[in-house]
């Protein structure tokens, strides 16, 4: 099993969710995040103070998948999240040793397969 961690643009989240659905990926967890990469920085001004915003709003997705689902998952994200502009984000694939489904106690493959 793997854990696919993807950082994408906030405004692309719904497209990514839809693409994942099409790829038959079901479970996932997201967290709001802020990222720094090659994006242009925003300048903000508060009264006399000028501020450079080095971090821009992103969404972080975390998807536990069985091995043969890594490829479709990555592809779904790649195609749905891409705009071609700097700031599209990154995908990391991490090895996972064990997975548990809390509700049933099922382990590993079983834990990431949907119950009928």
């Amino acid at each position: 099993m793997k854990l696919v961690v993807a950082i994408v643009r906030t405004e692309k989240l719904n497209d990514v969710l839809e693409a994942l659905f099409r790829a038959e990926v079901r479970g996932l967890t997201i967290t709001p995040a802020r990222g720094h990469g090659g994006e242009t920085e925003q300048v903000e001004t508060y009264r006399g103070t000028t501020i450079k915003m080095e971090l821009s709003q992103k969404v972080r997705l975390e998807i536990g998948v069985s091995d043969h689902f890594v490829e479709p998952t990555v592809e779904a994200i790649m195609s749905a999240a891409r705009t071609g502009e700097v700031g599209d984000g990154k995908i990391f694939v991490l090895p996972v040793e064990r997975v548990y489904r809390i509700r049933t106690g099922e382990r590993d493959e079983a834990a990431v397969t949907p119950v009928a």
């Binding site: 906030t10 989240l13 719904n14 969710l17 839809e18 994942l20 659905f21 790829a23 038959e24 990926v25 079901r26 479970g27 997201i30 709001p32 969404v59 998807i63 536990g64 998948v65 069985s66 689902f69 998952t73 990431v112 397969t113 949907p114 009928a116």
Partner: protein, 432 residues
Amino acid sequence: MSEGHIAWMLVSTALVLLMTPALGFFYGGLVRAKNALNTLMMSFAALGFVGLGWALLGYSLAFTTGTPLIGGFSHALLRGVGLEAQGEIPQILFMAFQGTFAIITAALISGAIVERMRFGSYLAFLALWGLLIYAPVAHWVWGGGWLADLGALDFAGGTVVHVNAGVAALAAALAVKQRRDYGRQAILPHHIPFTLLGAALLWLGWFGFNGGSALAANASASLAFVNTMLAPMATLVAWMALDVLRTGKSTAVGMATAIVVGLVAITPAAGFVAPISAVILGGLAAVPSYYALLWRARTRLDDSLDVFAAHGVGGISGALLTGVFAQQSWNGVADGLLFGNPQQLVVQAIAVLAVMAYSGIGSFLILKLVGLVATLRVTPATESIGLDVSEHGEEAYGSGEGAILVPSSDLLAAGSAVAPAPRSLQASGGDA
């Protein structure tokens, strides 16, 4: 009727109406984010359900001469409520001013039952309470009823409004029972600035509440107004002192609470006591409410936002202290204990006890009645998701993350192109 009196009573009515939304913010800030809208709506709904009930029936029950216990139906549906003078203002304005009192009183009760009551049952309770409890009690004291005859002093509603709502809250907390998490988990206020905003707007509105209860822009209104400014200042300072003595820190929720307690306590006394007495009364009133609140938190009684400690106890303190500090040289009506008339204190106590008994029992019965017809509480699952999503299908602070637009099935031709094809992440069985 003169334009000056009308001007002041127009303003007062507007200010008292504002108190109900203000209360919504006071209460709404104290609950968890997942119940913020439900709590706010409990106040806002009173504007509709109690306000309309008052205009159509409650006013008549409270302010027409019927028996010493309740008025009659002669002004029902606003019949005969016109532009003719009622004291210094048109009767229609008098009706409206009194209506704002009915609304806020009923809304006050909601603080005892937040985060768990079904909204429909709450609305039913609200509407019935305004007619069956508030209107008669208002009649007793202000509509020529038996407490008026007895000589009970209640300038702006210490008994009619605050003792009444405070005891009803107690009954409601008992009838609706405690929240699942109560006493088991820490339940934190989600937005204390809203509570402070509510306190500030309540104070503003209370100038109309107490100052307007003179029903004219005269010396009595000025006295009531100034006392409404001074008493909460003293309560604030006293409360902060109590806080610092107990925990070493003063708190924002404490400041907001203190302001309300001070306002509650001065309400029955506002036009009857000297300004320096208002300062003392405000300071004294901090103590019983402060300790009532501490005590309550250690019991199983989930009067969630401490309506009884603030309004019930504060209202009782105020009503009794009115019997202590009243001064005929300021009010032209009656003296209290300190000025040689101990009898007044007895009358005040009778008024308080009568309202406590009637409101406590009556409110409990209304809830039991509503409970027979409908369910009083949401399900445990709903309680843990929060009432905003479950009862109202809304989130107070929506981010839109993961929110999918559902296209209307009967989409207009013009609109069809813009709506996405219906889909659902989980419609199909695939998984990873």
